[in-house]
Symmetry: C2
Subunit: 104 residues, 2 copies
DNA sequence: TTTCTATTTGGCTAAAATGCCAAATAGCCA
DNA sequence: TGGCTATTTGGCATTTTAGCCAAATAGAAA
């Protein structure tokens, strides 16, 4: 059993890992299919090292897993249903309060 | 219709607003009942100005709303169901993949 | 082995986030 | 008005992020 503070910190860590446009993009793509770093890099258009670091953040948060095959590393979502989750975020943005209920 | 990049950025903004232990605490408390800044401050134990700034972050993200009454400002959740949402985060932390399905 | 491709890590700079204190605002009550 | 209480804002120091380049690693193929 964790205390409340630890819980909050743990939750915040996961949310923080998701809270970046590039990492959200990666999550969306991995929801469709696993991808190697170079695939993601060419889709995103930033330096490979940057993508690698984003993947490392996601992995450390427990959101993705990696599988080395040959000289490539394939990443995939550990929780494929992560995306259902975003409908909510959308609701907040588009604003009314009623919409949210539909998502949850 | 927004393009994909704008969507990702918008989602990231909301997630980022939630990605802090103190702000998650505030969200949990506001889910129970509205609170004025001084209530939250005494519960949290950091400087009032810090709490005020956290609330401002949450408000700008569209997560909370404020209501000034007398010389106090009461904050409340705009989307009271936000918390259902956390079961998922918990699942990621505790790790298996199957658990997640239950939350979503 | 040498070379080439894929990925990660280290180093660095610039930008953003935290949190404190002090000062400014706003509303209440004597 | 004057003094309180509640809240926000500005300024500042410290820490964390993000992203690039260069160097290190790992595996594949010549």
């Amino acid at each position: 059993m964790k205390n409340r503070k630890a819980h909050l910190e743990a939750r915040a860590r996961v949310l923080k890992a998701m809270a970046h446009p590039t990492r959200l993009f990666i999550i969306e793509e991995l929801d469709k299919q696993e991808r190697c770093v170079c695939d993601l890099t060419s889709m995103i258009g930033v330096d490979v090292s940057t993508v690698s670091k984003h993947l490392s953040v996601l992995k450390q948060a427990g959101l993705v897993q990696d599988d080395k095959r040959g000289n490539q590393v394939f990443y995939s979502l550990r929780a494929p249903c992560i995306l259902n989750f975003f409908g909510f975020v959308e609701g907040v943005l588009e604003n009314g309060t009623k919409e949210h209920a539909a998502y949850l």
